[in-house]
Amino acid sequence: MTGADKKGREALARLVDVLVDDLLAAPDQVIVAEFVEGQGDPAKNAEAMRMLFEKSVLKANKNRLHAAQAGLAAYRAAPVVAKLISMVDVRGRFKRALAACPPEMKLTLAARNESDLSDADILGMLQDLEELGIVIADDESGDKS
């Protein structure tokens, strides 16, 4: 299609806009009478249109199902990214967190003696401190150490 064709189509579209405006504004009895005169039985038309609508309902349901299936498939296909962390860094953070703790905060002796704790204990305690808001989580602080 050329730009010149577009002009002609736009002119016709303007005409159709006026026809549609009049169609929407015309009283029901006029619309029905015109249809009877020119095209036939309004009830049959309504029946055919309702059937078309029910087909659209099925199509819409299928579209929704396909969208949901695609979403689920995308979720399942997404690779699980394991976060690699350095325990040296974690222990460093833990030590700094302990050092920054106000004196009134009571910590167990075991916690104070960080070097005796296992990696799992350190991670668990750091997580607890993060949840309590005493230590800012890595993701939020941007601190990689």
């Binding site: 299609m1 730009g3 002609g8 020119g38």
Partner: protein, 190 residues
């Protein structure tokens, strides 16, 4: 600040559509035919797509908007979009010069209309205009009305062109629609 506009749910839309009257179905039927005619689409597909978009929620239907008008607007928008897709297609021509490019390569055609294309389009537009005006051989006001619309006149300017009062103007518009209704699928168009 956002206005508090309630939107019809999917179920409310479906229930309301199933309860449309004969006259409302006729309006949808005719409107889909008009848009399909202008944009070379299937009226049935257009209507189905409008229903689907309303049901899926691609288009939100405010509770205070007439449902038939809403679906008509959806069809208008879909038809416009489809028309735009065709108009914005970039023409391609195969590259045929030996050695110029590998087999199957295509070259973009200059998107500027050639003089020949402009002339052909102008002739087709004029033929369409004459076909529409020819539907009103003895009614110069209806001819002026149709011609004014095709030329881009709107509102009061359009009414002034016909020299009709408000009532006469509304009646002439209806007459024009009824006349075009009887003939439009056979009118040549661009």
């Amino acid at each position: 600040m956002k206005a508090d506009v309630s939107v019809r749910s999917r179920d409310e839309i479906a229930t309301a559509i199933r309860a449309l009257t004969d006259a409302q179905w006729i309006r949808l039927h005719k409107a889909s035919g008009y848009f399909a005619w202008v944009y070379d689409l299937s009226a049935e597909d257009l209507l189905q797509e409008a229903f689907c978009r309303a049901l899926v929620g691609t288009r939100h239907c405010p509770a205070d908007v007439d449902l038939v008008k809403f679906i008509v607007e959806a069809m208008r928008s879909i038809a416009n979009g489809e028309g735009g897709k065709i108009e914005n297609q970039i023409d391609t021509v195969p590259v045929v010069q030996p050695g110029a490019a590998s087999d199957g390569a295509v070259d973009l055609k200059d998107s500027t209309d050639s003089q020949e294309e402009i002339m052909v389009a102008a002739e087709t537009d004029e033929a369409t205009r004459q076909a529409i005006l020819g539907l009103f051989p003895t009614d110069h006001q209806a001819r002026d009305l149709a011609d004014g619309i095709l030329a881009g006149y709107e509102g009061e300017d359009l009414r002034a062109l016909t020299e009709l009062d408000q009532k006469g103007y509304a009646s002439k518009r209806r007459f024009m629609r009824r006349t075009i209704d009887k003939h439009y699928p056979r009118v040549t168009k661009p």
